[in-house]
C-alpha cells in the first residue's frame, strides 16, 4: 500500500518534470531574446554568455534599456510597424468581407458547379506562393503598382481561400430554417445574409480574422520581393531580416532582439486572449477536412 503511494508520487513528479522540460523548450528562445535585449554591447560579447544580463566585472544583475530606445528611434523600424499594421489590417478586412460573401454562397445557396468551385478553393489553401512569385513580380512592376497595395492584394492569395473554406463550414452548420423564416418575412436572400446569418457567424469571423491577421503580419517572401524596389514600404519582418548596424560587419543583435520582442508582443497578447479560438481555427480545417 505504502509502496504504491510512493510510486504514484514519483510518477507524478516525473510527469511534471517532463512538462517543465517541454515548457522550457517552447519558450526558451523567446526568453533568450528578452535576456539579450536587456544587455549592452559589452554584455552581449561576454563569454560564456550569461543567462541573465550581468555586469561584466562584478557579475551582478544589470539591465539596460538602451536597445529599446535605439529601436524606438529607428525610423525604418517604426515605419515598418506602421506598414505592417496597414497591410495586415486591410488584408484581414478584405478577406473577411469577400470571404463571407463567398462562404454564404457556398454554404446556403444553390447553384451550378458548387462542388467543383469549392474544390478549387480547397486546393488553393495549399497553393505554394513561391510558384507565382515571378509572375506576380512582373505584374506589379509592369503595372507600376506600389509595394503596399501590391502586398495587400497578393496576400489575399493565402488568406482568402482559407477564410472561405472555414466560413463555408460554419455557414453550412447554421439551420436552413433561419433563412426560410427570413424569406417568409419578405427579406431578400442578401438581406437575410447580412442581417441574420452574418451576426451569427461572429465567432467564426473572429477566428478566421485573427488567423488571417497573423499570417499577413508574419509574411516574408512577398514582402521581401515586392519591397526590393521600394525600401520605404518594407514591413516589419523584412526590416528585421535586413537590420544591420552602422558598422557593416557587426550585427547589432541587442537591438535586433529588442525589435523582435516589440514585433512579437502584440501577437502574443492576441494569442493569449484568443487562445481557444485560435486552436479551434487551426484544427477545424484539418479535423473536418
Amino acid at each position: 500500500m505504502k509502496n504504491k503511494k510512493i510510486l504514484k508520487i514519483i510518477s507524478k513528479t516525473l510527469f511534471y518534470l517532463l512538462l517543465l522540460l517541454i515548457l522550457i523548450e517552447m519558450i526558451f528562445p523567446f526568453y533568450w531574446a528578452i535576456n539579450s535585449s536587456f544587455k549592452t554591447e559589452a554584455q552581449l560579447m561576454m563569454t560564456p554568455a550569461t543567462m541573465i544580463p550581468r555586469d561584466p566585472d562584478t557579475l551582478k544583475l544589470s539591465i539596460t534599456l538602451q536597445n529599446f530606445k535605439a529601436v524606438w528611434h529607428n525610423e525604418d523600424f517604426v515605419r515598418g510597424l506602421g506598414n505592417s499594421a496597414i497591410v495586415s489590417l486591410t488584408v484581414t478586412l478584405l478577406s473577411l468581407c469577400f470571404g463571407s460573401f463567398a462562404a454564404f454562397a457556398f454554404g446556403k445557396l444553390r447553384f451550378r458547379f458548387k462542388n467543383a468551385s469549392l474544390y478549387v478553393i480547397l486546393a488553393m489553401t495549399m497553393f505554394p506562393q513561391v510558384s507565382v512569385l515571378t509572375g506576380l513580380y512582373v505584374v506589379i512592376r509592369t503595372l507600376n503598382i506600389s509595394a503596399i497595395p501590391g502586398m495587400i492584394f497578393t496576400y489575399l492569395l493565402f488568406t482568402l481561400p482559407f477564410t472561405v473554406w472555414v466560413l463555408t463550414n460554419f455557414f453550412k452548420g447554421l439551420p436552413d430554417s433561419l433563412l426560410q423564416a427570413a424569406q417568409v418575412d419578405g427579406a431578400t436572400p442578401f438581406q437575410s445574409f447580412y442581417r441574420i446569418l452574418l451576426p451569427l457567424t461572429a465567432p467564426a469571423l473572429v477566428t478566421t480574422g485573427l488567423l488571417a491577421f497573423i499570417q499577413a503580419w508574419n509574411e516574408y517572401l512577398f514582402a521581401l520581393t515586392f519591397t526590393s524596389f521600394e525600401p520605404t514600404a518594407r514591413t516589419v519582418p523584412v526590416v528585421l531580416a535586413l537590420f544591420s548596424g552602422e558598422v557593416a560587419y557587426q550585427q547589432p543583435f541587442g537591438e535586433i532582439m529588442a525589435a523582435a520582442i516589440i514585433v512579437t508582443l502584440p501577437l502574443l497578447v492576441l494569442v493569449f486572449i484568443f487562445q481557444k479560438k485560435i486552436v479551434e481555427g487551426l484544427t477545424s480545417g484539418a479535423v473536418k477536412g
Binding site: P29, F30, F111, T188, Y220, L267, T283, V287
Partner: protein, 360 residues
Amino acid sequence: MKKQNGKHSKLMKSEKKLAYLLLTPTFLILTVIAFYPLASVFVTSMTDRAFASSEEHGFVGLQNYKKLLGLTVKELPQQVDEETGEKRYDDETGRPVYERAIRILPRTPIRYKEVSQFGLFGKRYVIGATDREFIRAVSDTLGFTVISVVLETILGMMVALILNTNFKGRGIMRAVMLVPWAIPTAVSSRIWEWMFSSSRIGFFNVIFQKLGWSDGQFAFITNPSSQLWAMVSIDVWKTIPFMALLILAGLQMIPGEMYEAARVDGAGKIRQFFSLTLPFLRPILAVALIFRTLDALRVFDLFQIILAQKRYSMASFTYYQLIDNQAMGYSSASSVIIFMIILIFTVFYIKMAGGVENEK
C-alpha cells in the same frame, strides 16, 4: 400549380444570380493573383527573359528546364601512370587513385559540375549537374522536409499524449504552446541565428562546450555539416505546437469507453497506443503530415535569412534568380518545378484522404 412552379424557379434563378454575384470578387481576385501569374510563369519559363536587360527575349523551349535538371552519372576510371602504364595507387593508404571528376564530366554544350561521388561494387562514380546549385537546393529541401516532418510528427505526438492527461495548469500550457507558432518566422530566424553564434557569445556554443561536445567555437551556420541540422531544429521547434494541437484535437475525439474496454481486456498502455490510439489518429495524422510536408517543401524564410546564398532551399534559389540575377525565365522554370513537386504531393494527399474516407 404551374404558377407556383414559375415562382419557385424565379426564386431559384435569383438565388443563383446572387450566388454568382457573391462569388465574383473571390474568383476575380484569385484569377488575377493566382491563375494568371501561374500561367504566365509557365510561359515565361520557356523564354530567356531577363528584367533589367533591354534585349528582346526569345523562346528557348525547354532549355531552362534542361539546364536546371541536367544530371549525369559517369564512372571515374583509375588513374594510369603515363610512364609505366600501370594503374596508380596512393602511396600511403594503398587505395586506388581515380581520375579527377572535372576531366570526365561532359563540357559541351553545357558544362557539368561535380555534385558528389559515390562508390558501388568497387567502382567509383561521379554525379554531375549542369546547375549544381539547383540540384543541391532540391536535394537539401527534400532532405530538410523528410527529417523535419518525421521529427515533428514523433515529437508532436509525444507532446500531445502528455497534454491529453488531466493536470493542473493545462490551459496555461496550451497557451504557451502557441508562442513558437505565433512568433514570425523572420523573427525567430534572427533569434536562433543569434543563439547559434560561432563563439561562446551564442547560447549553443556555451552549452556544447559545457557538455564537452565542442570547443565552444563551432560555426553552426557556416559549417556545411551542421547547416541543415540548424534549419531542421528551428523548424521543429516552431512546428511541434501545431502538430501537437492537431493530434490533441484528434485524441480528444476518441471515446473514453474504448480505453476502458481495452483495459478490461487486459491491454497495457503501449498495446493501447498501437492498437487503439494510432489507428484512430490515422486520418488526422495523414492531414497533418501532408500540410507540414507541403509547408516544408516551400521553406523560404529560414534559408534566406540565415543561410542567404551559402546554401539554398528551392524557394530561396528561385528568389535569388529573380531578384539578384533578374533572370525571369530561369527563375520561372524553377518555380514550375517546385509547383510540380508540390502538385505531386497534393495529388498523393487527396488520394490518401479519399482512401481514408472510403474506409469509414
